[in-house]
């Protein structure tokens, strides 16, 4: 999703995602989730369209979008690497592996690699604690990680 959409095309995708939601109950939050599902971020145009569609103010939409920590407002990298810092992963050595991921991807904290191929995000728990430490790439989990496995995963991300 790193290519720049021209504004009209972008608006059409947004309108489409908002009006064709899979679930019956349509709200500001469900519309934001639908847009992020198709674009992987929330552009300003989406805030406007959702405000029109749900008949609320732009501020109302922003207040929801800024509350939930999964929403982002700039395009992410091609792939997203979630690293878990939850307690099960933490005591099984996650911090060392997160440091390793930072080094190998040259990303500090959370954010994008310089070539925009990868976004790194911290996760509070990926729900596979029995296999900790756990990372995920675009929601696909990788468990029982060690240094070798992390290098392998990161190599697949780089290519």
């Amino acid at each position: 999703m790193s290519e720049k959409h021209n504004s009209e095309k972008l608006r059409n995708i947004i309108k489409d995602s908002i009006s064709n939601q899979k679930r019956k109950t349509v709200t500001v939050l469900s519309s934001l989730l639908a847009v992020q599902d198709s674009l992987h971020y929330i552009p300003d145009e989406a805030i406007e369209e959702i405000s029109k569609h749900c008949k609320v103010t732009i501020n109302d939409v922003w207040s929801v979008a800024s509350f939930y920590t999964n929403f982002r407002f700039t395009p992410p990298g091609d792939k997203t690497l979630d690293v878990c810092w939850g307690p099960s992963c933490h005591i099984n050595g996650a911090q060392k592996l997160i440091n390793q991921a930072h080094d190998e991807l040259d990303i500090k904290g959370e954010g994008e690699s310089e070539d925009k191929k990868v976004t790194l995000r911290y996760s509070t728990c990926l729900g596979a604690c029995a296999q900790s430490p756990v990372f995920a790439i675009d929601h696909k989990m990788f468990g029982k990680l060690d240094e070798t496995k992390v290098t392998k995963i990161i190599n697949t991300l780089k290519n």
Binding site: H90, I91, A128, C129
Partner: protein, 567 residues
């Protein structure tokens, strides 16, 4: 038995016949934990192969997650062979082997199940303590059925409780039965479920909601998503019963976006239930109509609080509401509403089917039934286990969990999520029971038990928990918002060996203000990790306060203002 239900049963039996009769069925356990170690690839590999006498199906995890990828072979004789840590090579071998013979392939088989004695060198499943110590009520179908496949669920007796309730019981009877069973909420507060239902039931409002909470933000707990992704129909049936008992029209299953495996499974289950006339208008030909929908939320731990969850379903940001009004009077869209946790609801079909006395015969006097615990960390057998209430923590750790996974002894546990507590060895004789656990300083909460050996510093563990609580505070009340930040700063000082002697007093003061000055449990319980740790590890913490401990490594945590937030 109604005609309609009988027809469904016949359909299910025929379907099962086609699947199993004269066939070898290979079941791959592809839940979230299985996929994290490659079970989905094993399933794809097996599905790509062709043999006339073999069917390959996906099932959820049976809970023995440390053995995954886990594959079960069901022979035409109904004997089952269980395989652990299956890799590609073994997958090939299993398929080749069973396409030509029904003899047992022993490699990596850790157990079998049969009415006969099959093989001396492999134990029966029921001889393994991690299985025999369990009593599986809500999780009885784990590892057995394809998640969301309604005919497989019906073939295990599924929806017979609903059939019974609709045609042999009044809504009041159902509420009474649940009340009588002593079932208490599994979402944290342990409130009696039948009593909660009896608040909503008599309300004559035309629109009423029942909500099911699968937010499950507690790190270390995965049993709610576990039920959704393994046996979602148990939840669907329980929720319909909840709706019938309280005369409600509609339910929402509330879950965080991004957890695709459980989300897809519950949506499949709901849609198949509609197809078969078990949801929608006039369920099974009765007068009762009921709708169900999944509601996704963004990432917010506090959205799991019951009133916050209603804000989120309404599509708003989700700080908790003031109470009263209580949900039973004014909840979702100001309509009377009931809310329960996934596990709570998943017990209901079995309670209705077998009766409250049957349910009460398991567990302790004040905590009836079972607990579904999630073991992780430094334990030999990480996984999900349903054990009778009243079993001691020691038994769970040693017999079910197999003890420490190294030669380092177990030092402490973190239970009940980041608002729960930390327990030391002195507490291991405690019974798993809502009240006994609470007395020990921790809570059972949603059932997560994170096991730490003696390499883990207690300050490091609580720093992680408080970092979570700080990150997740919704910000509505300042004792919680600021208190957690302040506590984290103090813990960071301890970790850096830069503490000053007043820090213990300071933590206590912050904790107390959070307790009395916060609106919801997030702030009220936020001091728990520290207060419980002080109970068991006071001297270790005092050593840190006196800077007698080596500095800890820096901990990487996110900040609330994320780099890609609005500029």
């Amino acid at each position: 038995m109604t005609e309609q239900y009988k027809k469904l049963e016949e359909l299910a039996n025929k379907y099962l016949d086609d699947l199993y009769k004269n066939k070898t069925v290979i079941k791959v356990q592809t839940g979230t934990s299985g996929q994290a170690v490659g079970a989905d690839e094993i399933f794809s590999l097996l599905s790509s192969k062709k043999s006339d006498n073999i069917n390959v199906i996906e099932v959820g995890s049976m809970g023995l997650m440390y053995l995954e990828p886990l594959v079960v072979v069901v022979l035409p004789t109904n004997d089952q062979i269980f395989y652990a840590n299956v890799d590609e090579k073994l997958t090939e071998k299993i398929f080749e082997h069973y396409s030509t013979t029904n003899e047992i392939l022993k490699e990596n088989s850790f157990a079998y199940e049969s009415s006969r004695n099959l093989d001396e060198s492999i134990p029966k499943l029921n001889e393994l303590p991690q299985f025999s110590k369990q009593l599986r009520i809500a999780t009885r179908n784990f590892g057995e059925v394809t998640p969301g496949d309604i005919l497989q669920y019906i073939s295990t007796g599924g929806y017979s409780a609903l059939n019974k309730a609709l045609f042999e019981m009044t809504p009041e009877d159902v509420v009474e039965e649940v009340k009588n069973s002593g079932l208490r909420g599994r979402g944290g507060a342990a409130f009696p479920t039948g009593v909660k239902w009896s608040f909503l039931a008599p309300n004559k409002a035309p629109v009423k909601y029942v909500l099911c909470n699968c937010e499950e933000g507690d790190p270390g707990a995965y049993n709610d998503k576990g039920i959704l992704e393994t046996d979602p129909h148990t939840l669907v049936e329980g929720l319909i019963l909840n709706g019938y008992a309280t005369n409600s029209n509609k339910s929402y299953v509330f879950i965080r976006q991004g957890h695709d495996i459980p989300i897809n499974a519950i949506e499949r289950a709901i849609s198949e239930a509609y197809d078969k006339g078990l949801l929608g208008e006039n369920i099974l030909g009765s007068n009762f109509s009921f709708d169900m929908e999944v509601s996704l939320t963004g990432d917010s731990y506090v959205a799991g609080e019951e009133t916050a969850l209603m804000e989120a379903i309404e599509g708003k940001r989700s700080p908790p509401r003031f109470k009263p009004p209580f949900p039973a009077a004014s909840g979702l869209w100001k309509k009377p509403t009931n809310i329960n946790n996934v596990k709570t609801i998943s017990y209901v079909p079995q309670i209705i089917k077998n009766g409250s006395e049957w349910f009460k015969s398991t567990g302790t006097e004040k905590s009836s039934g079972t607990a579904i615990v999630c073991l992780s960390g430094h334990i030999s057998r990480p996984g999900m286990y349903e054990i009778p209430m009243g079993m001691t923590i020691e038994e769970v750790l040693e017999e079910v969990g197999g003890g420490s996974n190294s030669n380092k002894p177990i030092k402490m546990l973190q239970t009940g999520g980041p608002l729960g507590g930390v327990l030391g060895k002195e507490a291991f004789a405690t019974k798993i029971d809502f009240d006994e656990m609470a007395q020990s300083g921790a809570i059972l909460g949603s059932g997560g038990i994170i096991v730490c050996n003696d390499s883990v510093s207690v300050v490091d563990l609580i720093r992680n928990l408080v970092a979570f609580n700080q990150f997740e505070s919704c910000g509505k009340c300042f004792p919680c918002r600021l208190g957690n930040t302040h506590m984290y700063d103090v813990l960071q000082r301890l970790a850096d060996s830069k503490s000053n002697s007043k820090d213990l007093e300071l933590l206590d003061r912050i904790g107390k203000s959070m307790k009395i000055g916060s609106l919801c449990g997030h702030g009220q319980l936020g001091y728990n990790p520290i207060s419980s740790s002080l109970k068991y590890f006071e001297s270790e913490i005092i050593d840190s306060i006196n800077n007698k401990v080596e500095p800890l490594e820096k901990m990487l945590t996110p900040t609330r203002t994320r780099p890609n937030s609005a500029e």
